[in-house]
Amino acid sequence: MTIQQIVFIVFALIITAGGVGVLVQRNPLYSAFSLILSFIGLAAMYILMGAQFLGVIQIVVYAGAIMVLFVFVIMLLNVRDDELHPDRHKYLLYIGVPLGLGLIAEVFYVVTRVQIAPAITDMHATGTVGTVERIGVGLLTEYLLPFEATSVLILMAVIGAMHLAKREKE
């Protein structure tokens, strides 16, 4: 066990715990905070892999902006606990849980096989691909068109959100 592996396991547990928290919590605010925990763990993972820029951006964008928006809406609508409907939507539980178990099984199958395949287990994450310079240069050269396309996307999201959330003038 190297120190990186220990760090990985710690943060993997945090991420998984956060994810489970989202599923188990009934109060959406608790779900949101579980997810924030998860995102912070993911940021640590990115930094562990050498993607420093994305690690920080993960916190700025997800934890600092998107989740604030979620929490804000939860508070604005003042949602408390889920109302319980014991009979309804049971069938989705019956679909969802086996589907999840199936996916997990598939994952472990693939993962064990990936470990056998030598091509990708030998590689290790080091180096400088994740620095701000590399990301910035990449965005403005090879990814110029997608980068511009995101501005269109954001503009539309702003206009759309404003239209939908605006109060009806009666």
Binding site: V7, F11, L29, Y30, F33, I36, A43, A44, I47, L48, Q52, F53, G55, V56, I57, I59, V60, A63, G64, A65, V68, L69, V71, F72, I74, M75, L76, N78, T131, V132
Partner: protein
Amino acid sequence: MPLLLFSQPFMDSPLIPLIIEWSLKIFFIFGGLMTALAYLTWFERRVLAYIQMRLGPNRVGPAGLLQPLADGIKFIFKEDIVPLDADKFLYTLAPIMSLVPALTCYVLLPFGDKFVMPGLNREIPLHITHVNVGVLAIFALTGMGVYGIVLAGYASNNKYSLMGGLRSSAQMVSYELAMVMSIIGVLLQAGSLDLVEICKHQAGWFGMQWHLFTYPPTGIIGFFIFLIAMVAETNRVPFDLPEAETELVAGFHTEYSSMKFAMFFIAEYANMVTASAMATILFLGGWMGPFVDQFPLLGPVYFTAKVGFFLFLYVWLRGTLPRYRYDQLMNLGWKFLLPLSLVNLVLTATIALFFM
């Protein structure tokens, strides 16, 4: 935390001396800062009193200098009240969520350049850790500070608290935009997100090539946008809507008492210091100033003096300005500061393109 663990020095150098160095630095910086924060309250009350032609606290100790200590003792011994219908877990979590990011920021702030310890022959950089995305990291941490306030508002189960929390989150999110936009011009000039690099970039002109003065008038415009946004970010007068006592009792911390309240209080002052330090680093050259090359220890002095200026400004504003109305606040942020900062950014980029 992760930033600290994976920052470059941790990976490269021998561990034991580094840990000792770190522990000492953390001890001094945090010890000093916590004391400074405590005295900031004294400072604020005294200055405010002078502005308002009063005396201010002058009973405990000479010139009231022991007042913070007395306040601290009072906070510790007060009864810790948790409202009956409050969400206990979140109610307790909120002050922690507020304080921890606020204090963590200090890990990243550079107080000066390196200095060589006499006799030890060891270069000690005057900051706790050094990451090359410092500006972003600070914004990440201050962004996390919103949650404390939001949670406090939600968990108290009190409509004034809820309103305060809502207002605060909206306010902080709105002003963060203008704030980030206003510093992009600076980042463009410095070509780095590294706080130390940004400071060093301002070393010219005898230590006075501050971003405030370069590329006129963009530096000054950016600085003022940053200043306004920073006051709004820290929820201070004239933008202290979340805790506007005339309408919201005390806003998000209405229900808090004792140490929990103290933690919000400390967090607010800690954020003020961070914001001032950021303004110093980004626009006023950080530790740079005349003769700082010859005497590296002048760096922290300059730095402290500049931060102190901003802190005085905070108090001054509080003493002189009335509070904004909420919609005025939002209009100012979205319809004035944000467009202005965008225009400023374009202007900076144009000047940089043609004159660099």
